[in-house]
């Protein structure tokens, strides 16, 4: 039977080839169209260096104020530049701003722009361009999803909330009218007159062409990290005011970074070219970068295999597992600002008891999960802050080390003690909640089995629900154990530690410890890095002793690039950067 199938397949194939031949005959006359499968390096003239990669989906907005995800930010990060930049080693370096001063209280920052920095159309980059861009993001009429990244500015939040305040009454009236079936009022217009006073109060001001004064709502020790983030990039004010659609096509696109956008075939590909007016252009080696828009990860991986693209991240997970096992020389893995963990609801028995929580955390074999279950190159987590966050010196994670250990005998002992303290003879029925997803499912099953084997807990049932439903139930405290993940908003351990302060909006574990709250508060208000980091190390240790959440692993960013590509570096919360890349 199998043999017969083979014959059919061969016949089928032969036919396909004939067909394929037929459809391409009209094509032979054009010599240019026959070279798709040849070595790309032979075709490209030696002096023109082109890097080809995949952007995964069509950008929704190549506009610093309107961008809302990695499908926008990878391009934006390469064509724009903020006041500060991140060097390849992750440290903050001068970008458009050459120097800056901070007031003693950390509230006022003054940035001095570099001499002679230019937009890709030749206009000078001015402080007013920053002021314009930042206020654009906050303007409620622009409906920017990342506007809250600007809430650090003095009166920034108030400006963004003007619309919501005006519309609040209207929204309530609509709700009431829909209930009663009566006529709702006309929707009010948010007029320029309502906005102007609030806009003028926002804490960003161009003092002159080259000086930008920024006033913050509260002291923000990691503010220079934020100024390297894309919401804080400038927009050419003159261009944007005369053509509000400037960012929609390559022809009208103006930017100030290492590359400029030269072609944008929507949903097909984007082409970037080296920006010769960039101040650091001497260090930029690539002449052109082509970013295809291929949504299917498998297809993109196959294009990489055939040499149609040179650099690829978002690998299919089975491919990642295989590349790690084979120790492929073109495989690279980088830290990512993201942790996978389980919430234990501190409001319900038995998880109100820290010993019980610790027991569950210690009875998981994380190495096995990472290597054999998740298989995406992740790192086992023995703390909550992922690696890659700078400490006073060195790496916060490395300095802290593992904050607890996997020890099954100790775990059993702790569980028995904890149950005794709560007056329980045996564990009640436990439910593990996760959102429907293949990876979450297999991890939950593995952990269920580990608790059974290592801790003797037999009565854990798994429950999967839609993502939105899971969020609802976590927020209302209607769960016992739930799967969660958190992607940091900025590069400072605070983006994690802030989550578990008493009554914090994302404290789904319902954890509360005054000592922890005090340490987080110290780290938030102090401008002294040594004091802050010390407080955050202590806070993390307390959190892991109490274990309201069980860390499982840190996500990583596996990616591949051809061995003739050099100079790629990956910052912790970004995709691989090809700014200084070269092709040999």
């Amino acid at each position: 039977m199998k043999k017969r199938l083979n014959i059919f397949m061969s016949v089928f194939f032969a036919l396909m080839l004939v067909l394929a031949g037929c459809t391409t005959t009209g094509d032979k006359a054009d010599p240019e169209k026959d070279d798709d499968n040849k070595d790309p390096n032979v075709e490209t003239p030696a002096e023109k260096k082109v890097l080809r990669t995949n952007n995964h989906s069509e950008p929704g907005a190549l506009h610093p104020g309107l961008a809302q995800g990695t499908h926008d930010s990878w391009v934006i990060d390469h064509v724009f530049e903020g006041l500060t930049v991140k060097a390849p080693d992750g440290t903050i370096a001068p970008g458009m701003a050459e120097t800056w001063d901070t007031s003693e209280d950390g509230l006022t920052w003054t940035f001095h722009l570099r001499d002679g920095v230019q937009w890709s159309n030749g206009d000078p980059v001015t402080a007013a361009d920053f002021e314009y861009a930042w206020k654009f993001a906050l303007d409620p009429n622009n409906a920017s999803q990342y506007a809250y990244q600007m809430y650090y500015l003095e009166n920034g939040q108030a400006f963004n909330e003007v619309g919501a305040t005006i519309l609040k009454e209207y929204n309530e009236a609509v709700e009431k009218a829909e209930k009663d079936g009566t006529e709702p009022p006309e929707k009010p217009v948010i007029a320029e007159a309502d906005l102007q006073p609030a806009r003028d109060k926002v804490g960003v001001k161009a003092l002159d062409e080259k000086t930008l004064e920024v006033k913050l709502a509260t002291a923000t020790p990691y503010f220079l990290d934020l100024t390297s983030f894309y919401t804080y990039y400038p927009i050419n004010k003159t261009v944007a005011e005369s053509n509000p659609d400037w960012f929609k096509e390559a022809a009208t696109f103006v930017s100030n970074g290492a590359f400029k956008l030269t072609e944008w075939k929507h949903k097909e590909s984007l082409t970037l070219a080296k920006n010769d007016s960039y101040y650091d252009a001497a260090k930029v080696n690539l002449d052109e970068v082509v970013l295809y828009v291929i949504e299917d990860n498998n297809t993109a991986w196959q294009m990489y295999q055939t040499g149609e693209i040179d650099l690829l991240d978002n690998l299919p997970s089975e491919v990642t597992g295989k590349l790690i096992a084979d120790q492929a020389p073109d495989f690279h893995n980088a830290a990512e600002l993201s942790t996978y963990y389980y919430n234990l609801n501190s409001d319900v028995k038995p998880f109100n008891n820290p010993k019980v929580r610790r027991a569950f955390g210690m009875a998981i074999d994380r190495q096995t999960i990472v290597e054999h279950v998740a298989q995406g190159g992740q790192m086992p987590a023995y703390g909550v802050v992922p690696p890659g966050m700078p400490d006073v010196s060195g790496d916060f994670r490395e300095n802290a080390g593992a904050l607890f250990e996997e020890n099954y005998d100790e775990a059993k002992k702790l569980l028995a003690e904890g149950l005794a303290e709560e007056g329980l003879k045996k564990l009640p029925e436990l439910t593990l909640l996760y959102n429907t997803n293949e990876i979450h499912k297999v991890i939950a099953e593995a952990i269920q089995e580990m608790w059974r084997k290592n801790l003797g807990v037999e009565n854990v049932t798994l429950e999967n629900v839609e993502f939105q439903v899971k969020l609802d139930r976590e927020q209302s405290g209607d769960y016992m154990i739930s799967r969660a993940g958190w992607i940091g908003d900025y590069v400072d351990p605070m983006t994690y530690l802030d989550l578990w302060v008493s009554d914090g909006p994302y404290n789904d574990a319902n954890y509360s410890n005054p000592e922890y709250d005090a340490l987080v508060n110290t780290a938030k208000t102090s401008m002294d890095p040594t004091v802050r980091m010390e407080a955050m190390h202590q806070a993390e240790q307390i959190l892991m002793n109490d274990m309201p959440i069980i860390p499982v692993y840190y996500y990583t960013r596996p990616h591949v690039y051809k061995e003739n590509v050099t100079g790629i570096y990956t910052l912790i919360n970004r995709q691989p950067s090809f700014k200084f890349a070269d092709i040999e």
């Binding site: 396909m16 394929a20 459809t23 391409t24 026959d34 409620p140 919501a164 948010i190």
Partner: protein, 309 residues
């Protein structure tokens, strides 16, 4: 004829209005929100977004606004893109899907008819078995498996074609084959059974006994009579092909409109859901009209007006 067409267009408008209304109601009754607030989106940002896209107005007001917009052929903005409107999506993507669909259609019709006729003429002999096995493969193998299979062998292993993207004619070959297989198989089977019926008709035997050329009989009398059922389904097949296939376009990175509807629903992108539904309906209604007109041309016994004079 003109009266018939005008009447049909008027009916089409009513149909489209009904489709808009039903889609609008269903779309707003499924749970979910285009700006689902996971993670850290503050209340004000959410309110600003809803206000910007008029999602905070009562539903009947939104419905009225939409009808007004549609009357001016404006499908509105996409909630997930600040760059492209729904009109842009269709204007950019439809020519691509149309080209891919047309290529697949030509391939499917030519090959399907040939296979069907060969199978019928050689009934229960090996060419019949061969053609029908091919048809069964075409119907039963899902396009994503066929596409993956083609990429793996023809692109990755043998390097005969590029893996994906939409650049030269050569890039269109694999997606065309993937898209054409199913309709080809369908047409082949339909053509076979219809041809078998015609071959047994008295007029075929008469023609044969007159000593006419065998090939001439087959084309002049056989094909013309047997093709009607195929023409009937051709309208729907064409509409399916030219509006793009989500799977084939997704796998081959084709910038068509196949993904529009599916992704619109997934993202709860209301204007995209409505816009694509209306656009597909227009295409389908138009093609069915063409098919009805084509009947009279192929078979003069059929009158469009339905009057038998």
């Amino acid at each position: 004829m003109l009266k018939f067409i005008v009447k049909r267009i008027l009916w089409a408008l009513v149909t489209i209005w009904a489709i808009i209304s039903i889609t609008f109601i269903i779309m707003h009754s499924i749970p979910g929100d285009p700006f689902a607030r996971e993670g850290s989106m503050p209340e004000a940002v959410y309110q600003n977004l809803r206000s910007f896209y008029n999602l905070d107005e009562p539903l009947y007001v939104q419905y009225g606004l939409y009808l007004k917009q549609i009357a001016q052929f404006d499908f509105g903005p996409s909630l997930k893109s600040n760059t492209l409107t729904v009109n842009d999506y269709i204007a950019n993507g439809f020519p691509v899907s149309l080209q891919l669909g047309a290529q697949a259609l030509i391939l499917a019709v030519c090959l399907g008819l040939i296979l069907g006729v060969i199978a019928a003429v050689n009934r229960n002999k090996w060419p019949d078995y061969f053609a029908m096995v091919l048809a069964i493969i075409g119907i039963s193998v899902p396009s994503f498996i066929l596409a993956t299979f083609l990429i793996n062998f023809l692109a990755v292993e043998w390097r005969l074609f590029p893996v994906a993207t939409w650049q030269t004619m050569k890039h269109t070959v694999l997606p065309t084959i993937s898209l054409a297989m199913l309709p080809m198989a369908y047409i082949a089977r339909l053509m076979r059974s219809s041809m078998l019926e015609v071959l047994n008709q008295d007029y075929m035997i008469t023609a044969k006994s007159k000593g006419l050329n065998k090939g001439f009989i087959l084309i002049k009398y056989g094909l013309r009579n047997a093709i009607l059922p195929v023409v009937t389904v051709l309208g729907i097949i064409t509409a399916n092909l030219v509006t793009g296939s989500f799977i084939v376009e997704h796998i081959f990175g084709v910038p068509g409109i196949g993904e529009l509807f599916v992704k619109g629903i997934f993202n709860r992108d209301y204007p995209v859901i409505l816009g694509s539904t209306i656009f597909y309906s227009i295409i389908l209604i138009f093609l069915i009209l063409i098919v009805d007109i084509a009947y009279t041309w192929i078979d003069p016994r059929i009158k469009v007006t339905g009057e038998s004079k």
